[in-house]
Symmetry: C2
Subunit: 723 residues, 2 copies
């Protein structure tokens, strides 16, 4: 990844813009012909491997080795240059020294190539000269209407069509058996893509098609994701991500995948401080704050995983299994301990483990009296003796209607004869009765037993805790997928609203900042600006409560530091004194500061202190933040983010996902808070931030007091900064 700016603007979210970014990408995965510039007769060399792999991949299009020094390359006729090739060339691979690349890209353009993939290194990843040279390549390609993958990349591969666009040795690793689980892969790291392709073959998971974006001079990961979202041959998308230069493009791609109903499983690295530093030094570019990526993935229904192993497990289960319609998990095992392990994990993975219904308990007891008929259901070791027990129990559990999904813990039945036959037969009969039920099996298995179970659309895991964890991730995804249309409609109200939003004030004081957010629909505490001690006394008398006085100055951002705040002023006399004290302190703090007066407002104490705000992320634009005040933000960093704008559904989800959300539900004997009002304020803030995305820098509403249900929520202070 580099700092080179993208060649195609994507400012407006229009269908044509979508098309522009994915234009030509089908030539990467479904080219009719491939030219290899720098083709080698040695099948182990970078220029030789694509030719070698293409001969073995089943590719039915033409492969044209280009090498002025050879007549034939690996048995194929070679051409001295790309323009000598008689037919059309969809995809050209450049395996040439750095110095020869510019001419080669020109030649490809003249030939009418659709996509050129540049393996060669020494561009933006090297130094400024390389960066300039790379930008020139992009300009050349754009001049010909040609797309460019890389440079400094390992290319692309499609086993389905046999289209080889890579020199990665991993492309030569065969599957011993046709994989059942196929997942498209877009990666910003070539090494990661290669490793996953190889490691996938070990676990029955085929990443296909796959691609690595290298320096992303033209084609970005987001473009590839968008292409895959629209490609009907792709059902599930895996992405490895280090950073992103164009947040709108990524957002758009995830939206497309969501519309298409395709799960996107993302491994985004750099979640820790050390990791983020390593990303920065690795990519040498601005990559966006990790929390904002989290918000993005939440908002657009992507499944974020934290490791390769989790990526594989989630992709495998998505590809093999069925999506659940609800959260309720039934646990069936032949061992009490295994059932408890599943229940322990379910609690942490967002799955519900409801008790079995009385009628189900009767049904199960009728089948096998010694069974444990709570949930987890314990079939006891009889599971291994009675061939009818497993299908009968599965059938009873699913027919009862109390569970949306089942996990079976059958310990070593899948490994040892004669029990493995019993297991496969039992599952076959259960599956025939319930063809669409989401079922996951956990067992030690022999490969052929595993395969037989997988062919029934039943994923098999060795470890039940891991299986339930993965089911939890997929359950979260399925829930968000069910809620997608509602959430989208709700978010659309934020975008479509015709309510007039206020313009940015010229100068920013607490008074103008409050007026700004108030005009956007966020309640603020009643207040008056006074310009003398006498006015202060009078204002205090008009308010039936202790008041707070605060300095108003466009030059003083940190009012407390300047001695510009006095709390708990109970009488008119105290108010007059506080006025004088504040003005004196502020003058002492900054003699040149413009003082516009003193703000006087009632103290508000009956409510939960929260913080709402906006920061304008350089990659993703305005991001709304929400957290509880006090120790929650300052000690526990208990905050959550969403990209602006969004609707009420999203706002309510935000409110529910902080760790301290119990505070708003009425913890410690307090009344429940007016979370509806809080949610409306978050939506209003998101609209305001979106409207001013060009000039706004940040909004900080702190504290924002959420009062008991029905009494609303209001800002006690606000700070707005602009660029």
């Amino acid at each position: 990844m580099t700092t080179t700016s993208p060649p195609i603007d994507f400012g407006t979210r229009t269908h044509s813009a979508r098309k522009a970014n994915v234009a030509g990408l089908d030539a990467l995965f479904e080219p009719r012909s491939i030219a290899v510039l720098g083709a080698s007769s040695d099948p182990t060399k970078i220029g030789g491997r694509p030719v070698h792999f293409a001969k073995e991949s089943g590719f039915t299009g033409a492969v044209y080795p280009v090498n002025p020094k050879a007549d034939t390359i690996q048995g194929l006729p070679a051409f001295p240059d790309i323009e000598s090739i008689p037919g059309e060339v969809d995809l050209a691979l450049i395996a040439l020294p750095n110095s020869a690349v510019t001419d080669a890209v020109h030649a490809c353009g003249r030939k009418g190539v659709k996509v050129v993939t540049i393996f060669s290194a020494g561009f933006a990843e090297m130094d400024e000269n390389g960066d300039a040279q790379q930008q020139k390549l992009v300009d050349i390609a754009r001049g010909y209407g040609m797309r460019l993958l890389g440079p400094n990349c390992i290319g692309s591969m499609n086993r389905r069509t046999g289209a080889v666009g890579t020199f990665a040795a991993s492309s030569g690793v065969p599957f011993t058996q046709k994989p059942l689980a196929t997942v498209a892969l877009a990666s910003q790291s070539g090494a990661i893509a290669s490793e996953w392709v190889v490691a996938g073959t070990q676990q029955g998971l085929q990443f296909d098609p796959w691609l690595s974006t290298g320096n992303e001079a033209d084609i970005q990961l987001a473009d590839v994701l968008a292409h895959m979202a629209m490609d009907p041959s792709v059902e599930i998308i895996a992405a490895y991500l280090e950073g992103c230069r164009d947040g709108d493009r990524l957002r758009e791609a995830l939206e497309l995948a969501q519309e298409a109903g395709k799960p996107v499983v993302v491994l985004k690295v750099g979640r820790s401080e050390v990791g983020a530093t390593a990303v920065a030094s690795h990519t040498a570019s601005l990559v966006g704050a990790d929390e904002v990526f989290d918000a993005l993935f939440q908002q657009y229904g992507a499944i974020r995983v934290d490791s390769m192993a989790e990526m594989f497990d989630v992709c495998y289960a998505l590809a093999i299994g069925k999506l659940p319609e609800g959260d309720r998990l039934g646990i069936l095992t032949g061992s009490g301990g295994v059932g408890i392990l599943a229940a322990d994990e379910a609690g942490e993975s967002g799955l519900e483990v409801p008790p079995t219904s009385p009628s189900l308990q009767r049904d199960l007891k009728a089948i096998w009296p010694p069974a444990g008929v709570g949930n987890p259901v314990d079939l006891t070791a009889q599971l291994m003796n009675d061939p009818k027990l497993l299908p009968s129990f599965i059938d009873a559990c699913l027919a009862d209607g109390g569970f949306d999904q089942l996990v079976l813990g059958v310990i070593y039945m899948g490994f040892l004869e004669p029990w493995s036959d019993l297991l496969v037969n039992g599952l076959t009969s259960a599956r025939a009765a319930h063809p669409d039920a989401p079922i996951v099996v956990t067992a030690s298995t022999r490969p052929e037993v595993r395969r037989a179970i997988e062919e029934m659309s039943i994923p098999v895991f060795a470890d039940i805790s891991n299986a339930v964890k993965v089911m939890g991730r997929i359950n979260d995804y399925a829930r968000r997928r069910r809620e997608f249309e509602d959430r989208r409609a709700s978010d659309a109200t934020a975008t479509d609203s015709t309510a007039v939003l206020p313009g940015l004030p010229e100068t920013m004081t607490e008074v103008t900042a409050k007026a700004f957010i108030s005009a956007a629909g966020i309640d603020v505490v009643p207040e008056a600006v006074v310009t003398s001690a006498a006015e202060a006394a009078q204002a205090q008398a008009g308010l039936d409560a202790p008041v707070v006085l605060k300095i108003v100055s466009p030059d003083i951002a940190h009012k407390t530091e300047a001695g510009g705040v006095v709390l708990g002023v109970a009488t008119p006399e105290e108010a007059a004194a506080a006025y004088d004290q504040i003005v004196a302190s502020a003058r002492a703090y900054d003699g040149g500061a413009r003082i516009e007066g003193v703000l006087i407002s009632p103290m508000v104490t009956d409510g939960v202190e929260t913080i709402i705000g906006v920061s304008n992320d350089p990659t993703f634009g305005p991001v709304v933040v929400f957290g509880l005040g006090g120790v929650f933000v300052e000690v526990l960093k208990d905050v959550t983010y969403r990209l602006a704008p969004f609707g009420l559904e999203t706002a309510k989800f935000m409110i529910g996902e902080i760790r301290g959300s119990a505070m708003l539900a009425g913890a410690r004997g307090a009344e429940p808070s007016d979370v509806e009002a809080l949610a409306r304020a978050l939506v209003a803030l998101s609209r305001l931030a979106d409207a001013h995305r060009d000039r706004l820098d940040s909004i900080d509403v702190n504290p924002f007091i959420v009062r008991p249900v029905g009494q609303g929520a209001l800002a006690l202070d606000a700070l707005v900064t602009t660029r």
Copy 2:
């Protein structure tokens, strides 16, 4: 597991008690002879399998089938009853119908059998009659000085000696290759033990010896752990635990393992609410609160894991690898992305990822200039081209002295030729130069490559995130092991102290409770008890601060509820009025309550509010709890536990492990708190609780205010209840 009480008391922690509980257990794992009562000629039947397995296990002792209906069983001479056997019998296995078991146990006793294992079911796990019958078996066995495993258990197995004490089919599963990693296993579930033995063979991990304790009528899991701790042939112990009836025995066993320097890896189920309910219904017995188990494992250096997969990974890494001497992790990869994945996980696993030193950076650059020389170190794809690169980089990193352990991410080098040779050769040369360095490799591998690396004491994982997570668990263990002697010496001071502890007061009021803890060395706020409004006014005048007044009555535990508390009393007149108000409220609340006066003490506001206390766990005795006050305890449940008594080291560890510990370090601009004083109070509380373990029910010191460094910490309120 059952509710039957254990046959041997273990109240006093003496060497003889230790011996009593492990007496005879060597006959389970190293018997000279085995008799099978109910032996069958059918090798697939429960009575046939032990005979069948013993013939194939390499057991060199005698095997005596006992069956009155046969002359020979599976080619061995059979005996009509155990007493007809000519030689001595160390281990007898009972595979008879429930009704025949009592007579058989008698016969075994008369024969002088050392341990009798009862496979038969239908005892305490069934009903009250079964429980009574089981207790009779224990009495019979004890009368003969014979130990008893089970009933309702699958027995024991020792592949090393060939001693077969089980009918588990898993015992017949062969290893295709002699395993490098061998771990002893004690399990409370037969199904779990069988599954792990089978699943282990799939992952190169041999659980041996292993045993399942069934109903635990006599031999408990703790006894087996203690035996394994003392058995020189055992190096690592794995335990599967659902609950515990005798906390002292388990504590003692873990202590023995710690003294012996043997890691104990524990999977304790029931950590979630649903899981705990399932445990309770599965074991039908009191099993101890999960948090207390957590405290126990922390305190005695056991490694708690949450899944079978984690159990296998931790055991494997312990068995294959080397223990680190410190927390500093060096990350070496051939892919930037893989390095970042490792760094991300290290941050969450308690491993430090220090930057490389300038001299190391120079050294690495000298070897391969394009390398990324921060930590993670990125060798780039050159890793796969230059055979000397990997050993040179490993050598430089270890010679530098800045890292205590290394993780290598070599992606698919271990899978594809010719790179796998390069990898093995590179590691061989690095290992020769650094024979004791803790190194972990992450790679896709072929089995023979993996084996070659493991033989260098280098564990191999497929996933780098998982590898680092496991390294983190082992690092925690290694740290606690290094600190063990210090911590033990510190804890011993709590036990050995000769300071006189106060007796339990006769009646419990706030006044006597505070006096009780004060006498134990915990500071309490200065206070006076007044018995009239006039005295209250006088007392207020003598204190230079606002005061709090609280009712003193042995009959009123919840003072606030009774209107018995008034805060912030600033003048003598207010104090007099508050006195009258409190007494009137208390009388209205409970007309029969004995009122001993009103407590008056200064308000203390400068400090961090904490809660310290004791609850007397039915299984493990007094447990000290610590948490921060307010939302930390009430909303976030941010508390930690330790078994009493303990010393300062343990107390400080407790203080550091709560999530909100930053509050005590001086968060939000506050001064750092006097954590030394807090730690001393926790130690004092633990000693007090230990001294009164027989009659104490609970102590609740809330709030306990920790003031700034040097100013101590003091109790503002205390509640003590007795049994």
